[in-house]
Symmetry: C2
Subunit: 106 residues, 2 copies
């Protein structure tokens, strides 16, 4: 594996890792239907505001979202919406894993 290939794999893994946390994945899914300010994203998450802010920073650093400050608020949106096209497949994995998760999908 060349250095370039290695760097590429690392960059890709980094994106998946960013999405690999329940809070961050939830926020990314929320952004599927358009931008939201931090306060809107925070509404349904039971965590400190600082925690939420840091999760958003991780998504931003990974290139999954971009932010824009407008007035007092900061709006986040998906940078590349296809990100979420993946979800049906992820759910297929869960289906295939049956037993343990099948009831989640009903």
């Amino acid at each position: 594996m060349t250095g370039k290939e290695k760097a590429l794999i690392e960059a890709k893994a980094n994106i998946l890792k960013a999405l690999g946390h329940p809070t961050r994945l939830w926020m990314a899914e929320r952004l599927a239907d358009g931008e939201k300010c931090v306060c809107e994203l925070a509404e349904n998450i039971d965590a400190d505001f600082s925690t939420i802010s840091k999760h958003l920073a991780v998504l931003k650093q990974a290139g999954v979202v971009i932010d824009e400050k407008r007035g007092k608020q900061v709006y986040y949106r998906l940078k590349v919406p296809c990100i979420l096209n993946f979800m049906p497949c992820i759910e297929a994995v869960l289906q295939a894993t049956a037993q343990k998760h099948i009831e989640l999908m009903e």
Copy 2:
């Protein structure tokens, strides 16, 4: 968010997290063109065998791969191949993040 929704998000995040490590992502991509035994996967990875084995265990636990022992060897394969359909989009994210990564994609 109901308990069920929370559990679902956690399960999905867990799959993404499993793929969110360079070694594991690399192995998953390797499996795209069919099953491989651990020894084959290990060939191009510079890490202890025990480390590789543990990474495979993570992928297995997440439901990304399944294993089958045949003779002295254990063969792994993707459980739901669509997993890798995601990669073009991941690469699109890298493209969009330009500057820092653009040279990786040439």
